[in-house]
Amino acid sequence: SQQGEEDPQALSIQEGENATMNCSYKTSINNLQWYRQNSGRGLVHLILIRSNEREKHSGRLRVTLDTSKKSSSLLITASRAADTASYFCATVNMNRDDKIIFGKGTRLHILP
């Protein structure tokens, strides 16, 4: 069954603005990961946040995790044209095998 669900499905913003994407999931997790996929390319890992962490930063990326609400958000600050891509959250369930489940993704388009 689908675990991560990103919201919104698509987002268009002006270059320089901040972009926020959300991910909700259903079961207890070990960690949550965010990936980026440029058109026609493979996924690239952005950031991993563990279930006992609440916030993590990496450059212009800020990820939060609220395990009580079973949700995570990815914030990209000062967006650039190169940030145009699809963004996926992925979760690994606790007490499960090594299966990582990806959401359906948010398509982000940065307008010049």
């Binding site: 990936y35 390319r41 493979g42 996924l43 890992h45 996926f88 990806f102």
Partner: protein, 114 residues
């Protein structure tokens, strides 16, 4: 050097044919994966191997058979191809198990069955 490579990048074939996709990683990772991404960009795991041993086998038709000759390679063979097999197939690897480590993806193989 490419970390995770797949061949071919594009594959166009007719229904009923048998085809293989190859994957190699030079990262020294123990675990490799095959994913299928459909036209709506939904990415679903198919198989996972750890040190040549199958550890995840999702509900995938028997026509799909992975083979791992060594821990740096995970190939995917597909028999009797069907129209619904058209998708982009991604190979990935991780240092150990996905539960703790990021995954590195290959560039994908776009399979079109006509």
């Amino acid at each position: 050097d490419t970390a995770v490579s797949q061949t071919p990048k594009y594959l166009v074939t007719q229904m009923g044919n048998d085809k293989s996709i190859k994957c190699e990683q030079n990262l020294g990772h123990d675990t490799m994966y095959w994913y299928k991404q459909d036209s709506k960009k939904f990415l679903k795991i198919m198989f996972s191997y750890n040190n040549k041993e199958l550890i995840i086998n999702e509900t995938v038709p028997n026509r799909f058979s992975p083979k791992s000759p060594d821990k740096a390679h995970l190939n995917l063979h597909i028999n009797s191809l069907e129209l619904g097999d058209s998708a982009v197939y991604f190979c990935a690897s991780s240092g150990r198990l996905a539960s703790s480590y990021e995954q590195y993806f290959g560039p994908g193989t776009r399979l079109t069955v006509t």
